[in-house]
Amino acid sequence: MPSIPVQHASWRELLSAPPPGSHPLQIYDGDAFLASAVSHFAAEGLRKGEAVLLNGLPHHTDAIRASLEAGGVDARAALRHGQLTIFDVREGLGSLDGDGTLSTEQLHASLCEMTRAARQDGRFPGVRWWGELTNLLYQRGEREAAFRVERVAGEAALEAGTTILCSFLGDRFDAAAYDGLHAMCCAHSHVIPAADYAANRLAVNRAIADVVGELRGSLLQSLSLWKGPACDQPSSQAILFWLRETLPERFDAVLARARAHHQLGSMSFAP
């Protein structure tokens, strides 16, 4: 019998209690979703007495901090007590060698050391990281370095028993983005593809029904045999990866329809 993939029902549920050693990926298409998800992740950690490290661009960490405070978290006190630490991700680029290649050993050692330090001799039972170093590298076109960072981060998360949440700017309805999205998903334990899972599912379902029709016969057989990324991701995202491999000639059309349905859905929910 096959093993049953555990699937998270919502990103809020996942980010409230991520499994120790997990390495979730948030695909975001706007700063509001980034701030909302990361502040939820951080707030839940702070409430549980865990240490939280945020490593992002200043305008992102400012928005996350504002969202934390709007949610009733005393971020200033957490910073003062050493429970919350905020870094400027651009400083992390110093761990790149002079020739632009990444010193993976140095980064690994640095992540593990910072996690140990964050625990403060057991004062904080757990550590949560959020970072967008990979995002920054990828957006700058340094894709190989970005994936190397992810590998190291995943290993460090497992080794230190911490959770590392990454945010990645990507358009899930753009076929051209899918090489990167697929590789990013493969490098993570969980994938959060959208802010609204139900609306995303509806848009994807409708698009596939419009362009492909029913999944029966050879399509059902292909889906049954398909081995997608091993990460925990909603079926509405996994089915797009399957479609990209199985019906590449219709993939663009499905994504275009999904985008249209999604936009239409958003408009109909607007006040």
């Binding site: 049953i4 599912r201 379902n205 016969g217 050879s218 059902l220 889906l223 049954s224 045999l225 081995k227």
Partner: protein, 194 residues
Amino acid sequence: MPHMTDCGLPGVKDIPYGVHMCNFYRDGNELAAALVPYFAAGLRASERCIWITADPLPAAEAKARLAATGFDVEGAVASGALVVRDHDDWYAEAGALKGNQVVDLWLEEEQRALAAGYAGLRITGNVTFLRAEEWELFMEYESLVQRAFHGRRIVTLCTYDLGRCGAAEVLDVMRRHSCTLDRPDHGWQILTPA
């Protein structure tokens, strides 16, 4: 006791006890085409058969379709070998239970069937009653079933109305079952994960 049993569907070989299968159908005829031979094989194999029905194949019609194949349906019901109940009746008793309690109920049913001398338990559930907001919870139940029935003398076929399942729901269901029964043209095939 043998570890394999007849699935009943033409073209599908024997299936192992503990298997948790799914099928997607378009209408009542397609549903009956899967479930009537499935239960006929169960009765032939001396298994206790429990058929929880729902639209588009309610209990009375399910019995009539099975009887049309030549089975003494009333006799099987009277002896306890066959139970055919509409989902609404069954739900009145089991609907308040949590997923793991429903699984326990099935496992107890298996033990009762074995104690009564049956070769195993054969069950089905059609889930047209599910509302969209209940989907995630029901998928959790399917995951529990997949884990709990493995290695037991239970054969399960869960049927889903394709008209109510989008592509993502189809994948949700397939991920939580041992295999999928499909009839793309004239013959049945069993689709197993890689």
